[in-house]
């Protein structure tokens, strides 16, 4: 058994313990597969509600099909659920003493945040797969071939991973599962304030500014571009929408640079 005292031993145990915690999340999912369904009910309702109800009245800028326009927005919406899910799980562990148990055990300390974000990545992939199925069912499809399609999904995964670290930090900061649960509904207006459902062109200036710079918009615009779906902005557009792929990568890097150290510091701190 390698000890935790050498750098190599620590790395090995961080991976091993992290995998054990990923296994924990998968075990939870197996016991309650309803969690995935619950997380997807909302985006699927949106497919129907927006795809057929509001969609019949919304004009896509270059005259494309609205459901083709909508699906990249819904993929972005599912991606942005990452931070909420991870926040809720971290806060639940913190408020029920499970986090204290981890901290008082001779396990690799970093395994907890890495395990949690790793597990979220797996559930995220599963949710994305289900959403792709729903999209194909309502007539959405990628048009530009395998590589750009793969790039689009890769972008979603990279941003999702970065967002899950926001969840780690917020979850550790609130420490209370009730507060965390109360924060969850805030996710919706955040995703709606973007180009995911409607073009931002018609919004009042200040709102349009917020929507254009919302990372949800960058991800949506990037996947529209890579999937070849309609809705590419034309004319004078904000920088993140003119360079959506770069913008998503920059957002991801910025979130990781800020929230990984913050989270690790919050997790390692021994105070109360």
């Amino acid at each position: 058994m390698t000890a935790l005292t050498t750098p190599l031993g620590r790395l090995r145990w961080t991976l091993t313990d992290g995998l054990t915690l990923v296994g924990r999340e998968l075990g939870r999912l197996r016991r309650e597969p309803g969690q995935i369904v619950a997380a997807l009910v909302f985006p699927v309702i949106m497919v129907v509600l927006f795809g057929y109800v509001f969609g019949s009245a919304i004009q896509v800028p270059d005259g494309g099909d609205y459901r083709e326009y909508l699906m990249p927005g819904l993929f972005a919406m599912v991606t942005f659920s990452a931070w909420l899910g991870v926040m809720t799980r971290m806060a639940a562990d913190a408020s029920r003493g499970v986090m204290d148990r981890f901290r008082s055990m001779p396990m690799a300390r970093l395994a907890v945040p890495f395990g949690q974000t790793g597990a979220d990545l797996l559930t995220g992939l599963l949710m994305l797969a289900i959403m792709v199925g729903a999209g194909l069912l309502v007539g959405w499809q990628p048009h530009r071939g395998l590589i750009p399609t793969a790039q689009a999904f890769l972008l979603m995964i990279v941003l999702r991973y970065a967002l899950s670290w926001v969840g780690v930090y917020v979850g550790l900061a609130v420490k209370n599962d009730r507060v965390a649960d109360a924060l969850v509904p805030l996710g919706l207006p955040f995703t709606m304030l973007s180009n995911a459902f409607v073009p931002t062109g018609g919004m009042p200036g200040w709102l349009r500014f917020l929507a254009d710079w919302n990372p949800v918009s960058a991800l949506t615009a990037a996947s529209r571009e890579l999937f070849g779906n309609p809705g590419a902005p034309s004319g004078d557009v904000a920088w993140p929408l003119a360079h959506p792929v770069t913008a998503v990568l920059l957002w991801s890097a910025a979130l990781l640079v800020i929230f990984v150290p913050l989270s690790l510091r919050a997790y390692m701190r021994r105070g109360r």
């Binding site: 054990t20 296994g23 075990g27 003493g97 148990r101 105070g271």
Partner: protein, 314 residues
């Protein structure tokens, strides 16, 4: 006396303006149960968190089995178990699933973790519920699972922070039995509690904590002896109360407390008074007593006396 396995010296800890600990000293000999007693907010939990490496002291130091809780936290963690005030287990997993997961996180091999989980479930009577989700467990079963989760690595020292708070009497009894069994194996237990009967039942030594300091230590009997035996007198006629009070005052040398309209209680000096003498004196004074009894004080009375709180009217 064997070497103490838990040593705390002059622990200080403040949260803003609140001084949770003000120079707490503690020493627990190997293989014993130390009960840390104190009212809410006395600093019990803060002390346990420092000893279990979850929190750093502002001043002072502590060692577990010779390892410093701040500088050698890793060594300490390999030797302790902590059960806090909540059942810190994953409610969505089964009992067995929890034990296996924590076994793996304790760096047992997969096979060892599985075997240890089964051993513990069997020994502590949770085998029947092993494959049920913890969410469906009763409060007592959850606490028992929480307790045995601490035992995966056979810790030298077990910290139990109010292990039975909120449990029904039967579940409390079951947890007590489990703790006694651990002690029989040689585990050292540091237990905080607000229940004095719990300390009385389980602890070899008691440390009474108030305002962040240990204000008394000793075995339950030693602590009880410090305030002497109690004499309770119930009168046939409440009107005789003043006369009875005078008699008791003369005998005991202290003012008795009126615990009911027709009942008096007084602490007796250590110079043993015999029950027969007391009855005779009351008789001389013309006081008819329905009941006169001499008893050891309860830990409650010791505790209230030590922490300078008023005895509650009964």
């Amino acid at each position: 006396m064997p070497d103490p396995i838990v040593v705390a010296e002059g622990l200080h800890k403040s949260f803003g303006d609140t001084h949770a600990l003000r120079g707490l000293d503690l020493s627990v000999p190997r293989g014993t149960v130390c009960g840390v007693l104190g009212p809410n907010g006395a600093g019990k939990t803060t002390a346990v968190r420092i000893l279990a490496t979850l929190s750093d002291p502002d001043a002072g130091h502590a060692r577990i089995a010779g390892y410093d809780v701040v500088r050698e936290a890793g060594e300490v963690r390999a030797r302790i178990g902590l059960a806090g005030q909540y059942a810190a287990v994953d409610e969505k997993l089964t009992g067995r699933g929890n034990l296996r997961m924590f076994g793996r996180l304790s760096h047992l091999s997969r096979r060892q973790a599985h075997r240890r989980a089964d051993e513990l479930l069997e020994r502590f009577g949770l085998m029947d519920a092993a494959d049920r989700q913890v969410a469906g467990y009763s409060g007592g079963m959850r606490r028992r699972l929480d307790l045995i989760t601490c035992l995966i690595l056979r810790p030298d020292v077990l910290f139990l922070d109010e292990p039975t708070t909120g449990l029904d009497p039967r579940s409390r009894g079951e947890i007590w039995d489990s703790i006694r069994e651990l002690v029989a194996d040689g585990t050292t237990v540091l237990l905080t509690t607000q229940y004095l009967d719990e300390a009385d039942q389980l602890a070899d030594d008691i440390a009474v904590v108030d305002h962040g300091q240990v204000i008394a230590t000793g075995t339950p009997d030693e602590l009880k002896a410090t305030i002497g035996d109690r004499l309770d007198v119930t009168l046939e006629d409440p009107a005789a109360l003043p006369a009875a009070a005078t008699v008791l005052n003369t005998l005991a040398g202290t003012e008795p407390t009126t615990t009911d309209a027709d009942r008096l209680s007084v602490a007796l000096p250590a110079t043993g008074l015999r029950l027969a003498d007391i009855v005779r004196e009351l008789d001389h004074a013309g006081v008819a007593a329905a009941d006169v009894s001499l008893r050891r004080p309860t830990l409650d009375e010791v505790f209230l006396r030590l922490t300078n709180r008023k005895e509650p009217a009964r």
